[in-house]
Structure formats: C-alpha cells, structure tokens
C-alpha cells in the first residue's frame, strides 16, 4: 500500500517539475539512483530500494539545480498523497 503511494508521489513530483522546467524533469529523475522510468509518456515509474530515501534524493536532485522553490513545489503537490501515509513513513524532505 505504502509502496504504491511512494510510486504515485514520485510520478506526481516529476510531472509537476515537468510543467515548470519541461522534459528536463525526466532527465534529472533518471539521475537518481533507484528510480526507473518505465514509460515517460504514460508516466510510469518504478523504484528499487528504500523508496523513502529515493524520494528524498529525487527532491534533492531538483533542489540542487533550482533551489528551495523546487523543494516547496515537491511538498505542495504531494500533500494529498502524504496525508495518506503514516507520519513515520513520510519522507523528511516532504514534511
């Protein structure tokens, strides 16, 4: 159940970043270890490893390039999905 939500969070973050910076958002996501872009057009992503940590790394990947504003975007767009996770399962970067 949580893994499914983590996948949804990753997709939501990449898609939202894509709206702001274009296809570059997918290139940056590919650089994050543990993220596999299954189908960019359909928006299918899978994660292997510690999903919580992978999501933290994904958020950090965008923040490294675009600063705090990108971090806020990741948090805002995932609020409804975060609400479904138990508090201890929420990635630090999205709290």
């Amino acid at each position: 159940m949580e893994e499914k939500i983590y996948d949804q969070i990753a997709i939501r973050i990449i898609r939202e970043q894509e709206l702001i910076i274009g296809p570059l958002a997918w290139d940056e996501a590919r650089k994050v270890q543990g993220i596999l872009i299954v189908d960019q057009k359909k928006g299918e992503v899978s994660m292997s490893g510690d999903s919580k940590q992978i999501l933290n790394n994904l958020v950090a990947q965008y923040a490294k390039l675009f600063g705090r504003a990108s971090n806020e975007v990741c948090k805002e767009v995932t609020q409804d999905l975060i609400a479904e996770l138990p508090a201890d399962q929420v990635p630090e970067s999205l709290k």
Binding site: L19, I20, G67, A69, Q79, D80
Partner: protein, 444 residues
C-alpha cells in the same frame, strides 16, 4: 561570486518565473475545461457530474459536490457528488451516498446558513458541522476515522443577487496546506460553476416552457379539428336542406322562400369554404398534408383558376385582364395545392376590390416562374404587411371589407409555396391603392 554560483542563482530565478507561469497555466487549463463542459453540456445533472469530476481529479480532492438551493423551501438539494475511490468504498460499505442527502432549514443551519444567505465561503475541520444530523452517528464516526476527509470548504454559487446553490469541497488536509494553484483555482472556478449551473437551469426552464407550449398547441390543434369538423357538419346538413328545397324535393316553394333558400345555400357554401380554409391551414402547418409532387404545367393551373373565377369577377363589375407570356411553366409540385394558391390570391383580389380591375400576369423571370395578381382594391397598410402571411394575420382593411376574413388564406398560401421551394410576397402603395401579390416558383 563564482560563475557557478551566478549560474545557480539564474537557474533558481528562472525556475521561480516558470513556476508562476506553470501555476497560471494549470489554472487556465482547468478553467478552459470547465468552460468547455459548460458549453457542451446543457442538462444540469450531467453538467454537475462532469464539473465535479473535473475539479476533484484536477485538484486531487476527496469529494466535490454541487447543491442547488431552493429559497422557497429553504432546502439545499445535492445534484451530484464526485468522490475519491476510498470515500466511495466507505460510503458503499456504510450503505448511503452523499448525493441522497438534502439539507433542510438552511436558514437555521450554523455551517450552511452563512454561505447561502451571507454569500461568503465557509470552512470547517469537523465533519459533524456539515453532516451531523443527516448521517447517523455510527456512519459519521466511520467517515471520520476511515476517510481522509479533513477539511470541508463551502462556496455559495451566486448569480446576480441570488444564491442558486453551493459548491462543497472535501479535502484530505488543512486549507492552509493548499498550494497557490489550488487556492487560485478554487477562487476562479466558483463563478464559472455558478454561471454554468445557471445556464443549465435556464435551458431546462426553456425546455419545460417549450414542452408546455407544444402541449398547448396540440390541444388547440385538436380543438380546432373538433370544432371545425362539427361546424362543417352543421353547414353541410343545412346546405343539403336548402339544396333539396331548391330542387323541389319538398314540393313547390314560393319565390320568396326560393330566394331565402338560395341565400342560405350561398351562406352555407361560404361557411364550408371558411372551415376548409382553417382546416387546411392547420393540416399544412402540422405537416399532416402530404404533397404529391409531380411534374406539372403551372400555366394550366392558372388557366383553370381563371376559368373558375371569370364569372364571379365579371358579375361584380370588375375587369379581368390576363397576360400570360410564352415560356416554360413546368414545375415540380402538387397541382391540388398550387391551385389553392392561385385561387386564393385571385379570390382575395375579388373580395377586396370594389371597382376597377384584377390583372393576372404569368411570365418567366430570372429562370423562374412568376405569377402576379394585381388589383385596384383596398390596398395594404405598412402595419398589415408585417402580419400578412402569418397565422390569423387579418389586415385592418380586410376585416372592414370582408367580415368573413379568417386570416388563414395567405398563411396557407405561404405554407404551400414554401413547401414548393418558392417565394410569395405582396406589394402595395398603401391604403386604397390596390395590392399586388407575387408567387415565384422554380422551373423544373
């Protein structure tokens, strides 16, 4: 500052600008979708289904519902609720649905009253404020525990000065956590939803009014048929009594009685003609008449009518002038009904002309058949021209001259000519200056 740091700063600035644009784009995109829905959907229930689904999915909400408000009964009735999968499951298991819950006594309801009557938005993080008293305690507890419905937002849907309904939004978080796009979108979409709903209800009202009008027309039509058939029956019966009297069936009658029987027969014939006119017009209007379209010679029809009308025209002391040019007068039409057209126009001239002449002109003009019937009669005022070919459109002068005028003759003429893809019109320099009627038909 190093070049890398500069670049980083530029990157971040560009990102912020792009972010602002992305928020605006998303808002515009949602509004465009809602406008599209409002343009393409006219039925209020379907409209509300599509709008609530679009808003909920676009803004990732738990529930979005539209209520309509009836001020007379003080009740908010749900039109539709779009719900997340999880919420749908919970409600299904609990055996109830939000779209079945009407909220009565709004003016006394703490949460709804301020929005509906005060026309301001309202929010609460307690589901009991919204659904308490309408959902039983057990189900409400379940909803609170199992759903992720944390916050309820309520927005009045206002058009001009009336609250026509409300938009209810269920969030799975606090309002403060909404991002700029979500907050902006909610603000902008309220008016769009209100206008769309108002338009949908207006359409429904028009549809209902249209249906009532159709029913009235059907009733009137059937009444016209009943009355005209009864009246025609009465005329026909007395017509045969007069005819039998004149033929001597009841023995020799005195000259005085004979004169009265002749007048009675004339009067009955006129009555039957009038009833037929009204009946024909009604049948032509409702499409009951089926035209038998054949290749016919329109000149022959005009000739026949002239033969029929020559005697009554001349016996009234009027001069009949006929001018039929050489040419092609073949057209595709129903000879019975086209004869009615020509007869009606010549007969009208006869009725409305006290002295002078009636000229019948037939020619080919601009590749079409053109019939003209010109008289030196009462003429047509500009005011009467407006209603000449409309149902019951009797002119002021026509009533003075011909008290039996029904206003259905020219109406029927137009219906018939239209059905033959032709054109009919009238010209007159005014009262007392005669009239000219023209019929244009395609050559076949």
């Amino acid at each position: 500052m190093s070049a890398d740091a500069d670049l980083q700063k530029i990157n971040e600035e560009i990102y912020k600008r792009n972010l602002e644009l992305a928020v605006l784009n998303k808002n515009l995109s949602l509004l465009r979708k809602l406008y599209q829905i409002s343009i393409l959907t006219l039925e209020p229930k379907v409209l509300s289904e599509r709008i609530t689904d679009e808003i909920r999915l676009d803004l990732n909400m738990e529930a979005v519902g539209i209520f309509v408000f009836d001020q007379k009964t003080d009740i908010l009735s749900p039109l539709n609720f779009s719900k997340s999968e999880r919420l749908t499951d919970i409600l299904e298991k609990s055996g109830f649905d939000l779209k079945d819950i009407s909220i009565p006594e709004i003016s006394k309801h703490t949460f709804f009253q301020s929005s509906i009557y005060g026309k301001i938005s309202n929010s609460t993080e307690n589901l009991s404020d919204v659904w308490g008293g309408f959902i039983n305690e057990e189900n409400l507890k379940k909803l609170k525990e199992e759903s992720h419905w944390k916050t309820t937002l309520l927005y009045p849907l206002v058009t001009e000065s009336n609250t026509i309904g409300a938009l209810l939004i269920g969030l799975n978080r606090e309002y403060q956590t909404l991002n700029d796009h979500e907050k902006e979108s909610i603000k902008s979409l309220i008016d769009v939803v209100a206008v769309a709903l108002d338009k949908a209800y207006l359409y429904k009202e028009l549809q209902d009014a249209n249906e009532s009008l159709r029913n009235l027309l059907r009733q009137r039509e059937s009444l016209v048929h009943l009355v005209t058939h009864k009246v025609k029956g009465s005329f026909t019966r007395s017509k045969y009594i007069f005819a039998e009297m004149l033929e001597g069936t009841f023995g020799e009658i005195s000259p005085v009685l004979k004169g009265m029987a002749e007048k009675g027969l004339d009067s009955d014939n006129q009555g039957i003609e009038t009833v037929d006119l009204v009946l024909n017009a009604a049948n032509l209007q409702t499409g009951t008449v089926k035209y038998e379209m054949k290749l016919i010679d329109f000149k022959e029809i005009v000739d026949h009518v002239i033969v029929d009308m020559k005697k009554p025209i001349e016996s009234k002391g009027l001069k009949l002038e006929i001018n039929i040019s050489e040419g092609k007068y073949n057209t595709s039409g129903d000879s019975f009904w086209l004869k009615e057209v020509v007869h009606n126009l010549v007969d009208n001239s006869l009725k409305y002309t006290k002295e002078g002449s009636i000229k019948v002109n037939l020619e080919n003009k601009d590749g079409k058949i053109l019939l003209g019937v010109k008289d030196t009669g009462v003429g047509i005022t500009d005011e009467d021209k407006q209603n000449l070919f409309k149902e019951g459109g009797r002119g002021q002068n026509s009533v003075k001259v011909n008290v039996d005028s029904t206003g259905y003759g020219l109406f029927s003429v137009k219906l018939i000519v239209d059905a033959h893809k032709g054109r009919v019109w009238a010209e007159s320099d005014g009262q007392g200056k005669g009239s000219s009627f023209f019929v244009e038909l395609p050559i076949a």
